[in-house]
């Protein structure tokens, strides 16, 4: 009897060991995500996490990533940076030093991303950050092997490209709806570091399209825009461009309509889905744009399908939901590069593979490529709202200009 019990125990042990071995047949690819899941950047930060979860689910369900004869499943290590640069740095340290991630996605702001890059570069960990303002530091020297941004990729187009694509789309859509061609544009922007950087490019892009441009900046936390909008009304603009911060724009725009500030408006970072949900309505022509393509008026079936799956995972429908597409495609690019290189332990070869790659992602109908400064290029979608409606949109996707406009240093 005792022998029988021993035999049964041994057999059970062997089965457990075998099953454990079988489970472990799939190795883990550790990827970090650092994003604001709390604090004031939470609406952008949550989109990064949601995109990472969706991409991971799809890659793992499709069988994982085959690298050098082994199959790897992605395991995400998500860290909330609490919209705090110190927490961001601590999270990057933990992910790189303690957990040993091979790549990090994030963060939502330039300053935080740059801080993380100092840590990821030293450990040869790849970093994918959707900040167009990284263009200010990505140059020949910083991205060269041994440079402090060699492993960093900017997954949002350069700002002059985004601004050029957007300005062209806005004027193309609004001009036919106006009684006379617009000549005087006012760019209305939050006076923070991002607003200052982005608006400097957008002003040049509008000037390149023949506009006379005035810039009016507001304190970033403004809620009552009526005094500033009254000032703008006194400047007799043809178009007021609410630039950069979608939440502030959604606060300011209804006030502008009530004060009848301008004959036409452009709302940057406001998705048609939000425009419709809030039942905004204007008798004046209004153009909207997303960062980078809209969920409320998806320009093609691939984008439509992406957002369907994105929202099915429980992500909130917000003005910044589209920001998730600054992060999603690059999981697949990274996975493809790892498969091509055939090793997890050769990050330099992975960087080279990504730089040579043309990848047909969701964000753009044109295959994604990174330039030698590790920056991606794609167009920004602009939609025009049929005056007097909340749900009739016409989309335009103008490709970015080939070179920065006069007076724009690029970057």
């Amino acid at each position: 009897m005792r022998n029988l019990i021993w035999s049964a125990t041994l057999a059970t042990g062997a089965l457990v060991a075998l099953s454990t071995h079988l489970v472990r047949a799939d190795e883990e690819l550790k990827i970090g995500v650092v994003a604001a899941e709390s604090g004031s950047f939470v609406s952008a930060g949550n989109t990064i996490v949601a995109a990472a979860n969706l991409a991971t689910k799809q890659i793992n369900e499709a069988g994982g990533i085959k690298i050098g004869g082994k199959t790897y499943k992605i395991k995400l290590y998500i860290r909330d940076n609490r919209t705090d640069v110190n927490v961001t740095i601590a999270a990057a340290r933990e992910l790189v030093d303690d957990i040993g991630v091979k790549a990090i996605w994030g963060t939502e702001t330039h300053d935080f991303s740059v801080s993380m890059a100092k840590i990821t570069a030293a450990a040869k960990v790849l970093q994918f950050s959707g900040n167009s303002s990284l263009g200010a530091v990505l140059d020949d020297k910083s991205v060269a092997p041994g440079g402090w941004l060699h492993y960093t990729f900017q997954t949002e187009p350069q700002e002059w490209q985004r601004s050029g694509s957007t300005a062209k789309g806005v004027l193309t859509l609004l001009t036919p709806l106006m009684p006379h061609p617009p000549k005087h544009s006012i760019v209305f922007v939050g006076n923070d570091a991002t607003g200052q950087y982005l608006s400097s490019h957008y002003v040049k892009a509008l000037e390149a399209e023949g506009q006379q441009v005035d810039l009016v900046k507001y304190p970033p936390d403004t809620t009552d825009f009526s005094p500033l909008l009254t000032r703008i009304k006194g400047m007799n603009p043809d178009i007021v461009h609410f630039w950069y911060n979608g939440d502030s724009t959604l606060t300011a725009f209804p006030q502008a309509l009530k004060l009848d500030v301008a004959p036409a408006y452009f709302l940057f970072g406001v998705d048609p889905g939000i425009y419709q949900e809030r039942q905004l309505k204007s008798d004046k022509p209004v153009a909207l744009s997303c960062v980078p393509v809209c969920w409320g008026a998806a320009p093609n079936p691939a984008v439509q399908d992406y957002f369907k799956k994105y929202f099915e995972l429980g992500a909130a429908k917000g003005p910044q939901s589209s920001v998730s597409l600054l992060y999603y495609d690059y999981f697949f690019m990274y996975a493809k590069a790892l498969e091509e290189v055939g090793s997890l332990d050769n990050p330099d070869a992975v960087v080279d593979a990504i730089l040579k790659m043309k990848y047909q992602g969701v964000v753009s109908p044109v295959p994604l490529t990174f330039n030698p400064h590790h920056q991606v290029t794609f167009a920004t979608e602009v939609s025009a709202v049929q005056p007097g409606t909340s749900d009739q949109f016409k989309a335009a996707v103008e490709q970015p200009p080939a070179a920065p406009p006069p007076g724009d240093p690029g970057g």
């Binding site: 004031s40 609406s43 304190p219 005094p227 500033l228 009848d260």
Partner: protein
């Protein structure tokens, strides 16, 4: 000239919500002796409750009453459950209130999510008077603020309860010996200030969208208003709110627009240097309440 008059009208409406916040703070800070930095979050919660009720089909003005009741109850719980234990150590209460503000922000994110919330304009009319656009809902906010100011002012300066409250502030020990329930008055003031925050939140979301972080922005102006006017002085909060509103409106219209916030706070600093007790005078602020 029309633009100038429009800026004056704008200033009045800018001032109204600030005055409502300022009155709540000046009562709680100046009379109850509690530095409640979470007062802005109380306002935000009031806005969120209004949003929730309006989106559930409730009439805006009923939702407004609901927000006032809910935030009043929140104030009661906060005062009885937290601040009561810090009355002898106001600095502890201040730090506790900062913690409470962060907790409330994240509770709201957990319950409603982080996305900005808005409701349709409950009135939706703009009157054109002499070439000046007067937004009807803003006019209602100004009117309601005037009513609240009048009720609060006369409640404190003329009623029996107001007299007892002022006695409690002047000399808590003697007031207690005279049979005045000082601690209950502290609770009452805290709850009343919280109700005003609920009202402010409801009116705010009728004018502008709000986010879970709106409170941390408005609280600075609320404290500025209460200090400019004189702590515990309702009339002072009105004067402080009007000054900040005018400075905001006119500086945005004619100064460097990106400096709008700075102008108002420079005015506050100058006033506090010249008249440390505030323009209309007030209490000394936080103190041990016996």
């Amino acid at each position: 000239m029309q633009i100038f008059i429009q800026q004056l009208v704008n200033s009045l409406s800018v001032a109204s919500v600030t005055i409502l916040i300022g009155i709540g703070i000046t009562l709680i800070f100046g009379l109850a002796g509690i530095v409640n930095f979470a007062h802005g979050e109380f306002l935000m919660v009031g806005g969120m409750i209004t949003w929730f009720l309006v989106n559930s089909g409730v009439n805006f003005f009923v939702a407004l009453a609901g927000a006032m009741i809910f935030v009043g109850a929140l104030g009661f719980v906060a005062e009885r459950g937290l601040f009561r234990f810090t009355l002898d150590r106001p600095m502890n209460g201040f730090i506790m209130s900062i913690g409470l503000s962060v907790i409330l922000q994240h509770l709201v994110i957990r319950v409603f999510n982080e996305v900005q919330k808005t409701i349709p304009d409950p009135v939706g009319k703009v009157w054109l008077i002499g070439g000046v656009d007067v937004i009807a809902m803003r006019a209602i906010v100004v009117g309601l603020t005037a009513v609240v100011v009048a009720i609060t002012y006369f409640g404190i300066s003329r009623s029996r309860y107001g007299m007892a409250l002022r006695a409690s502030i002047a000399d808590p020990d003697t007031a207690a010996l005279m049979g005045i329930p000082v601690r209950r008055y502290v609770t009452g003031v805290f709850v009343y200030g919280s109700v005003l925050a609920g009202l402010g939140g409801a009116l705010m979301i009728a004018l502008f969208p709000i986010t879970p972080f709106t409170g941390s922005v408005v609280i600075i102006r609320g404290f500025a208003v209460s200090l400019i006017g004189g702590l515990g002085n309702v009339g002072g909060a009105v004067v402080g709110g009007l000054i900040l509103g005018l400075v905001d409106g006119l500086s945005a219209g004619y100064g460097l627009p990106e400096w709008t916030d700075a102008y108002a706070l420079v005015v506050m600093i100058v006033i506090l240097i010249v008249r440390p007790q505030g323009l209309l005078g007030g209490t000394l602020g936080p103190r041990a309440t016996g």
